[in-house]
């Protein structure tokens, strides 16, 4: 029973925070609650013995999405916040329908839990030849690599769409941040290498512990965002070709790794045996770089173009 105490506190806290994130007229407050929600959810994942998901949640849900949302909501003008989307009260019929659906799903799946142990046993059985010892990475980059490949493609499409909307094929029109702040510049100078090292660490450790390409990309993307915000003109000067190359690096590496087995007599994307581990690492490294650039591009591209917000330079 005392073991459950933290859970008894966590569960209502998660619901309470989520409630406040969804209701209320102040969008900014909702966004901050969303960030808090991400952190709480991370803790929930830990309680459910899923440190890999906790890592992903913390990095992506709290960190990256939080940054994107904060940026978006911060750009709404103070007055416009009230004039804007009129947030009505809670839509009670919808809420009720959703609750009933959730309850129905839980009741439908609960009896299944005892009979099947999920795919954990199969994954564990095939872990050895997969090339990595972290089952999550094995699933993502080997057993279900096809899904990951398509996910990366989708992400790139999203960035492409954003770049099209942004009007140029590079990010050179993103205004550099305002006058540099000495403290901030120093912070970035000190923290950016740490973030790069952390990104590399997460990448390398992903083969046997929580980590991997996505988490690494998010951390490095965060570093790029910091650089962008601290007045670093270098990021904003990333020209079209370099940007395109960086973005395509991951997907291409993945496709190459997928196609090579075709020439050695195996099937598309079949990774097995000795080389599997090394191939996975190489693909992950390329993916990490690509995705980091993609995420930074998503962030930078969402900001107003130079001159359109009264900020030139």
């Amino acid at each position: 029973m005392p073991d459950l105490l933290p859970d008894l506190l966590l569960a209502p806290a998660v619901v309470w925070v989520a409630w406040h994130a969804l209701t209320g007229r102040d969008l900014f407050r909702s966004v901050v609650f969303f960030i808090a929600f991400g952190l709480l959810l991370s803790i929930v994942w830990v309680r459910l013995a899923a440190p890999d998901v906790a890592l992903a949640e913390a990095a992506i849900g709290t960190g990256l999405t939080g940054a994107l949302l904060l940026d978006a909501v911060g750009q709404t003008e103070r007055g416009a916040r009230e004039r804007g989307r009129e947030r009505r009260g809670v839509a009670w019929p919808t809420a009720l329908a959703v609750l009933l659906l959730a309850a129905g799903l839980v009741m439908a799946y609960a009896p299944l839990r005892e009979t099947s142990g999920g795919l954990a046993r199969e994954v564990a059985a095939h872990l050895e030849p997969s090339g990595v010892s972290n089952p999550v990475t094995a699933v993502l980059l080997n057993f279900r690599a096809y899904d990951t490949l398509l996910e990366v493609a989708v992400l790139l499409l999203g960035v492409l769409g954003l770049l099209v909307l942004h009007g140029r094929r590079d990010l050179s029109r993103v205004p550099a941040a305002e006058r540099a702040d000495p403290v901030l510049s120093w912070l970035v100078r000190l923290v950016l290498p740490v973030m790069l090292v952390a990104g590399a660490h997460l990448l390398l450790v992903g083969s046997h512990a929580p980590g991997g390409a996505f988490q690494s990309a998010v951390v490095m993307g965060g570093g790029a965002i910091l650089l962008l915000l601290a007045g670093g003109r270098s990021i904003t000067a990333v020209r079209g070709r370099l940007l395109a190359a960086a973005l395509l690096l991951g997907l291409s590496a993945f496709l190459v790794a997928a196609a090579v087995p075709l020439f050695t007599g195996e099937r598309f994307l079949q990774l097995r045996g000795e080389t599997a581990g090394r191939v996975i690492l190489a693909v992950e490294a390329a993916l990490a770089i690509s995705l980091a650039v993609a995420l930074a591009a998503l962030f930078a591209g969402a900001r107003p173009r130079a001159g359109s917000a009264g900020e030139d330079r």
Binding site: R25, F28, R81, D181, V183, L184, L187, L190, V191, V194
Partner: protein, 103 residues
């Protein structure tokens, strides 16, 4: 419970004190700047004592170093964050009244 365990426990108890102090300050202090003051104590001293205690409990030097790195990062980050927020709050307050204000 070895001697090291007891020391670690005491250090972590000290950390708890600072965490509690930070929360109380966050909730009870009257404005942005004093609240910032309260939470930065949690960030550096609270986390510092916690890391010290956990480092004693760590199984290897590598882990202790990692804990130290996390603490240093947090120190740097929270100090900068406090500075940035304080500046921001002060700038926003000058023209008229504070920013947002919705309850």
């Amino acid at each position: 419970m070895t001697a090291a365990d007891w020391i670690a426990l005491l250090l972590m108890a000290a950390a708890a004190v600072f965490f509690l102090a930070g929360t109380v300050g966050l909730l009870r202090f009257p404005d942005v700047h004093s609240r910032l003051h309260a939470i930065t104590k949690t960030d550096n001293l609270g986390l510092g004592f916690l890391v010290a205690g956990l480092a004693l409990q760590a199984g290897s030097a590598a882990v202790a170093v990692k804990l130290l790195v996390i603490w240093l990062l947090m120190l740097l980050g929270s100090a900068t964050a406090a500075y940035l927020i304080a500046n921001h709050a002060q700038r926003e307050n000058r023209p008229g009244e504070g920013d947002s204000g919705d309850a």
